[in-house]
Symmetry: C2
Subunit: 79 residues, 2 copies
């Protein structure tokens, strides 16, 4: 716990994790938007921790990134 981010808002943590997994694939926001069907402007808001993203879109992003949805919730892991 003490080694995690100081901000514990799930929206922030989720956004950070999403950025990490997207960049691991070398994808732009635009690419992830195209692959997932989630609008790019919305995706930007999710990555900035501004959006309370719901289950179906979480699973769309996971599928596009070829990860299981639970991996998007492994906050603070290297990958």
């Amino acid at each position: 716990m003490s080694t995690g981010p100081s901000n514990t808002d799930p929206r922030i943590l989720f956004g950070e994790r999403l950025i990490q997994l997207r960049k691991q694939r070398g994808w732009s926001q635009e690419r992830l938007s195209l692959e997932s069907g989630v609008a790019r402007s919305y995706l930007g808001g999710v990555e900035r921790g501004k959006r309370n993203i719901a289950l179906l879109n979480i699973c769309r992003l996971a599928e596009a990134l070829s990860v299981t949805p639970d991996e998007l919730f492994r906050f603070g892991e290297d990958i």
Copy 2:
């Protein structure tokens, strides 16, 4: 994959997993509602796969159940 539920709608899978974790604790829907602050009627809809629950409520349920949010997404695991 072949041993999982035939219905792959994330709302169904999430609801099934939530029921599983709630029952593991021996909790009623009412108890989980009280512990999480998520309305019981809404919770019932989530468990029946009728609701597209969002990030903040997912994390509230996980915290109430004393599990990490990613555990709610480990669909098809025994516990």
